[in-house]
Amino acid sequence: MTAITVKSGDPLLEFLLRMGDNSLVLGHRLSEWCGHTPVLEEDIAIANVSLDLVGQTQLWLGFAGEVEGKGHSADNLAYLRDAGGFRNFLLVEQPNGSYGQTLMRQFLFDAWHYYMLRRLEHSSDRRIAEIAEKAVKEVTYHLERSVDLVIRLGDGTQESHALMQEALELLWPYTGQMFDADGFDEVAVKAGIMPDPAEIRPDWDAQVTRTLRAATLEIPQEAFSHKVAARSIHTEHLGYILADMQFLQRAYPGATW
């Protein structure tokens, strides 16, 4: 099969792709750690989080395919779109870096993901509410785990403190994007499909402040936030993720696995 382009236009479809692509890309990033973490218990835990995200991807993208109405499965959407067709946040495609950087990225995303899903449980779209209800059970654990580890590593040794602070500074400018709304969001918010992204900010801020304080880490004063003109614009990293992830589907078009 040749590359699929999903045309923008339907705010519901756009929303589903955004949710699905975040889980897909972050789940993929976490899976890169499998067998390489600092300790066996972490190999197990990170695989769990990755598995949850892959499962959520199947639900979001599966629904997106139905809404699109062109017979595309979740796999088609994951494996056959090019980078410009992906709608994920820049934060989740950032490289793993050290294990601490991976955990910091996870924490910053989990805090958004949790409060987003809590609101989506009340979406006007019943199917979205059901997916959110299932996902929030998993993400509650993701957030608990990442809060716990950020605190322990921030308030661990001097070395771990410095490493976590550095990761925080590096990733902070990518967090603002999670609260920006565009035209699609505005329509979807009006239809009650999703909450206003800006509405999640106070909960996220409170969670982040509380956790970083307990971790003895300092919130970056830098107000700069990476802004992109559209969700189709990415960092250079996404292309490599897709080259890796989509390799078999691209090399053997149309084969079933």
């Binding site: 899976s31 390489h36 066996l40 190999d43 598995l51 294990y99 601490g100 661990g156 771990s160 696995w257």
Partner: protein, 334 residues
Amino acid sequence: MYAQMVKTDADRVKSLDEMDPQERAFQQRIDAGEKIEPKEWMPEPYRKTLVRQISQHAHSEVVGQLPEGNWITRAPTLERKAILLAKVQDEAGHGLYLYCAAETLGVSRDDLYEQLLAGRAKYSSIFNYPTLSWADIGAIGWLVDGAAIMNQVQLQKTSYGPYSRAMIRICKEESFHQRQGYDIMMKLCAGTAEQKAMAQDAIDRWWWPSLMMFGPSDDASVHSVQSMAWKIKILSNDELRQRFVDQTVPQAEFIGLKVPDPDLKWNEKRQSYDFGEVDWDEFFQVLAGNGPCNRERMASRTRAWEDGAWFREALTAHADKAAKRKATAPIAAE
């Protein structure tokens, strides 16, 4: 088999008459099929042999994450990715219970792990072969996990309680692993010509290393006889290998794959397959560290361990701080 060559420190197996009363009572309990539990008396060579065997097995699980982990990010569908992630996660879990079982014998997981990284401990030779295509993931599940199950099913009856219980749990998961591996192969064989060729290439490369997993012929080995007397081992390497061949050849034929052994032939009289000789030179070379991936595998494990030192130290430091805070809290509150 994840523990291929386990030494027992025995020159020969003692008869009951030669044993002192304590050792004789121990052997009689084993002969009666009783389980030995951690706090109970056991002869030192029994304990040492078990530590070697269980830790080799644990190391194999941990190193075994690497060849399959190599394809997680390239798994061709979301479902295949989830299954493979879950499988590699199970292997980490198996490593964990096995290290715990070994710890009941008075050794620490960190010490065992350091022995692995220092190159002083063995792990299964099979994990020193590369995974070059997606079909290799199928072949590992089907052949490698299939060979492992063949060995582990009998080890559920092993005499040491914690090891036996770990095996019961592990076997349940391994049979799922084997099925998913065979399922990958079935899909490939029912697919395009390129996919079928990929599957054939995988069995061509994995067949012989899988037979090597059972270790060299040990019918005459004093270590094996001693391990069998202690019921640490129940069947000989050759018996297990034969069972594996008999079980696997029809599975290969069913999906249209050719087993790469010109000497393979059904023996009507024995109701079993005759098969060719394993290349034992290759086996010993791989055990000696000269397999295609020995160095990469050890380098990966060492890198993960060293790069993660800061993480482990930080968790310990945080726990110490938290304990101190807890200890001083009542005073501060007064």
